[in-house]
Point group: none
Amino acid sequence: MKPGNYRILLVDDEPDILEFIGYNLTREGYTVHKSLNGKEAVEKAREVLPHLIILDVMMPEMDGMETCRELRRFPELSHSIIAFLTARGEDYSQLAGFEAGADDYIAKPIKPSLLLSRVKALLRRSAPAGDAAERVQVGSIMIDRERYLIFKNEQEISLPKKEFELLALLASKPNKVFSREEIFASVWGSNVVVGDRTIDVHVRKLREKIGIENIKTVKGVGYKFEV
Amino acid sequence: MKPGNYRILLVDDEPDILEFIGYNLTREGYTVHKSLNGKEAVEKAREVLPHLIILDVMMPEMDGMETCRELRRFPELSHSIIAFLTARGEDYSQLAGFEAGADDYIAKPIKPSLLLSRVKALLRRSAPAGDAAERVQVGSIMIDRERYLIFKNEQEISLPKKEFELLALLASKPNKVFSREEIFASVWGSNVVVGDRTIDVHVRKLREKIGIENIKTVKGVGYKFEV
DNA sequence: ACCCATATTAAGAAATTGTTAAGTTAGTTT
DNA sequence: AAACTAACTTAACAATTTCTTAATATGGGT
């Protein structure tokens, strides 16, 4: 799973820390959400179902421990990993934290590189819990990248790589016209040189297999997938 | 999963510590194995396939870091969680540890109650991963990781390691297409370099043994186990 | 009707995978 | 440690699928 597919919720009452950690995680490609307090965190967690929740122990009102216990009450969050952020020296009983359902402790201040390694290690274990498969539905066509299959009206259609990628591209933005250049760049790669009619041939095969009505030609401009 | 079903491998060069931690874990119901050095640890790990390996960082000859890297070379151990035991003050770079494939750091000396909480937290993550389930049924195939055996229609089939790991990987997500890169990374380990046709040959043997209908080729993309 | 961009077709090129057998390596037994 | 065995890898070639080309057809717009 790529970092981009992971959601991380950051909870700390200090905006600076939120900003700092958030920046480092975002730069790595993770999707980062932030909350300034426990109450807000619980709401946001239930909304975005993060894979990892990083929780500051010391917070006004609802502290990390309490927030953790609260989070653990919701079954939809049972697969989320919870890590505590604790200032070195705060001799918080880690015991209580683990009992509350925490998975890890991270000491502050923390070097970005170490934080990233740690996050990676934590998420490595969560991967197979996997959520929604990577599928896209457009019109009567469903594209399942994981299985590398197309479904049209419950019927399974297997496409060769180029045709699959072409269809996936067009369907990624229904009704948008993709120029030949865009199609080449995305499906073939920028440095590959092939003849002019190659795209047409693939389009033809696609139309043959998934129906002529979806893929439309815009003369002089390109092709589009119409819903 | 009850503690009794978990296997933990303890690795430390000091018998006292081995004894102390071992006693606490055993009392809790875990099945505990012990090794006094890295080399022995790797052998034992491959034999008992522990769910959790607790590794002292400071050891003569082969230190924790090196042992960890060695352990990670074996695909059958890729599901084991590895935690480092580090004396407080030893300013070992945790970074190197995580990069070597560690999942957690535990500081010595550690209170038994905290250790147990920590172990529980680590194993909690391994449980739902599904890999900890020693048997998986997919289609007409049952995979028994513990005994390293495959069953097809009640019939027992014994597979060599590479074939077993390959099948286990493909069957871990039926219908998902695994790219050759993914397969290499999981079955061979990311730093191993072997020829192009190696996977094909193993696939062929698998098809020979468990039937041609299950393992499908997606040309230019990879292989999948279809149910 | 003419032009131009696209459609269609089939052939053969190119790329990928399948198969086989022999060569290596690793693990076990004696 | 030598001999044996099973597992794994390599390499050459075959088979297959996919991709591209090129030649020709079609069809809307001026």
